[in-house]
């Protein structure tokens, strides 16, 4: 291998509990674990429901709509793969179904993002996974 000038981004690798989630991302679907007992959605993937501790669930597609719970703009370079991107916009998006995703708002400058603004899903494709990102929905 030749020396890379910039390290690659830390792209997630599917593990046993998250395999169905990542597989669906390649088809443009955002799947959430829905508790078969209480109906609560859980994210990230975990064996037990954090409301009722049931271990039963079904992977269920999310609507892809949500709102910005909060946001910030990263100026610090903690990982060399992000050196060219700072400052970039970080956001927690609350999905309509309830769970919250750490993500980025891709179509707006950080100073145009607002708390509670409506957003919708878009995908950033990588080799064996796609990453859920969001854009404004007005």
């Amino acid at each position: 291998m030749t020396e890379a000038t910039t390290a690659p981004k830390p792209i997630p690798e599917p593990d046993e509990t998250s395999e169905p989630f990542w597989k669906a991302t390649l088809e443009g679907k955002l799947l959430l674990m829905k508790c078969s007992d209480c109906g609560g959605f859980r994210l990230p993937s975990r064996q037990h429901c954090d409301r009722c501790l049931s271990a039963k669930f079904e992977w269920t597609p999310a609507s892809g709509r949500g709102t910005v719970r909060s946001f910030g703009r990263m100026h610090q370079v903690y990982h060399p793969a992000f050196a060219e991107e700072v400052p970039y916009t970080l956001a927690i998006v609350e999905l309509e179904e309830g769970p919250r995703l750490p993500t980025n708002i891709v179509d707006l400058d950080g100073r145009e993002v607002r708390v509670d603004m409506p957003v919708e899903l878009t995908w950033e494709r990588h080799e064996d996974v796609a990453l859920p990102k969001f854009r404004s929905r007005d």
Partner: protein, 395 residues
């Protein structure tokens, strides 16, 4: 009748190493602090029958103190021992468990010690906390969503919390900056503080962005060092070497996972739960507090903690701090040693050590009025919280 635990124990000893870029091992720093705390209390090592141990970030990154510290200190036949982890709430928690053990007759003189060495020779100040250097090339599972989106370390989570408070309540940078400026004023009077140059609100605004809305001067220091305290029965502490600092109230509150659906973790913290327990045990309320020593990993942590203890209404923390009441000469002296923002970052031991100094009346030129001191610890992403209400007066 008062609460059965009110005033049963006191802090009788305090040991502090120099703090900052001090390159010793965590065990060595801990031993220095423990030796000095025992001597400060006028005790001998053999008098100690309890040891509670709290590593800082090196408990996660490697090289932190652990149960093995008992052996490094050569403490035999302890009646109480544990390695505790409640993140930044641990220091206050250790004093709580020591107090309960003393009250139960399970131990007499308990040493509570914190030591940390996040700074390595030549390393960047924030390297240990960013965590990016510990990531595998491909993080496993859905936990990998956050780093893939460029979320690194506690700065990110606290920026998001601050941002939401600003959006919901109109909190401003001038208001957050007032906290940074007030604490630096206190630090100029503390010979143990790492940062003693005064700063202005303009300096605050001009300090570089870390994660917007956090400026550099919104964020705490990173320090190597150690602090230990001795907790003793109140009946014995009153005749020991130092003025006793009595434990009048204790409480904890742990909202937990910040990603949980429905959580308001950004603006409603565990302090709300801890406040009820601690104030009720002390038989006091916010109006009775003479000074605050609050965990201040960020300026925002101070602001939201003041709200959650009821010093002002939810959302009014900004206007509350803006007039400078937290600084020298103000009506609510807060973080009188400079805190984690300006003095030293020893997690929960920063507020606790200053509370002991103030409670003894040993604050020198920075001594604040001294009756009831609120001392808090906060950890995780506003996930864990513990509080002590301390006083020079037993009753």
């Amino acid at each position: 009748m008062g609460h059965p635990l009110r005033g049963v124990a006191a802090i009788s000893g305090l040991g502090m190493t120099p703090m900052g870029r001090i390159y010793k091992s965590a065990n060595e720093l801990a031993a220095d602090a423990v030796r000095d705390a025992i001597a400060d209390a006028g005790l001998k090592k053999d008098d100690i029958d309890g040891l509670l141990i709290n590593p800082g970030i090196t408990g996660f990154t490697g090289g932190g103190i652990n149960l093995g510290l008992q052996n490094y200190l050569g403490m035999a036949d302890l009646r109480l021992l544990n390695h505790m982890n409640g993140a930044g709430s641990t220091a206050a928690q250790m004093v709580q468990y020591a107090t309960m053990a003393i009250n139960a007759g399970m131990a007499k003189h308990v040493v509570c010690v914190f030591a940390d060495t996040p700074l390595k020779d030549g390393s960047r100040t924030g390297a240990a906390y960013g965590g990016a250097n510990r990531l595998p090339p491909r993080p496993k599972g859905m936990a990998g969503l956050a780093p893939a989106a460029g979320f690194f370390g506690p700065n990110t989570q606290y920026a998001l919390a601050t941002s939401r408070h600003m959006a919901l309540y109109g909190t401003t940078h001038d208001q957050l900056g007032a906290i940074a400026v007030a604490q630096r004023q206190w630090a100029t009077q503390n010979p143990q503080a790492q940062m003693r140059e005064p700063i202005t609100l303009e300096d605050y605004h001009n300090s570089r962005w870390i994660v917007e809305p956090l400026h550099l001067l919104d964020c705490c220091l990173v320090s190597n060092g150690a602090i230990a305290v001795v907790v003793s029965p109140a009946d014995i502490a009153k005749d020991m070497a130092q003025p006793p600092v009595y434990i009048k109230g204790m409480g904890q509150g742990h909202p937990g996972d910040f990603s949980r659906a429905g959580s308001d973790w950004e603006t409603e913290t565990g302090a709300k739960i801890a406040a009820k327990t601690a104030f009720s045990m002390a038989g006091a309320g916010p109006d009775d507090i003479s000074s605050c020593q609050l965990y201040d990993c960020y300026t925002y942590t101070v602001l939201v903690t003041l709200e959650d203890y009821g010093f002002c209404k939810k959302g009014e923390g900004g206007p509350f701090v803006e007039d400078g009441k937290l600084g020298p000469g103000g009506s609510l002296p807060t973080n009188t040693g400079g805190g984690e923002l300006s003095a030293y970052y020893m997690w929960g031991m920063t507020p606790l050590s200053e509370a002991v100094i103030q409670g003894r009346g040993h604050g020198g030129e920075r001594q604040a009025k001294n009756d009831l001191i609120l001392c808090t610890g906060n950890g995780g992403s506003l996930s864990y919280h513990a509080a002590l209400i301390l006083s020079p007066h037993r009753n």
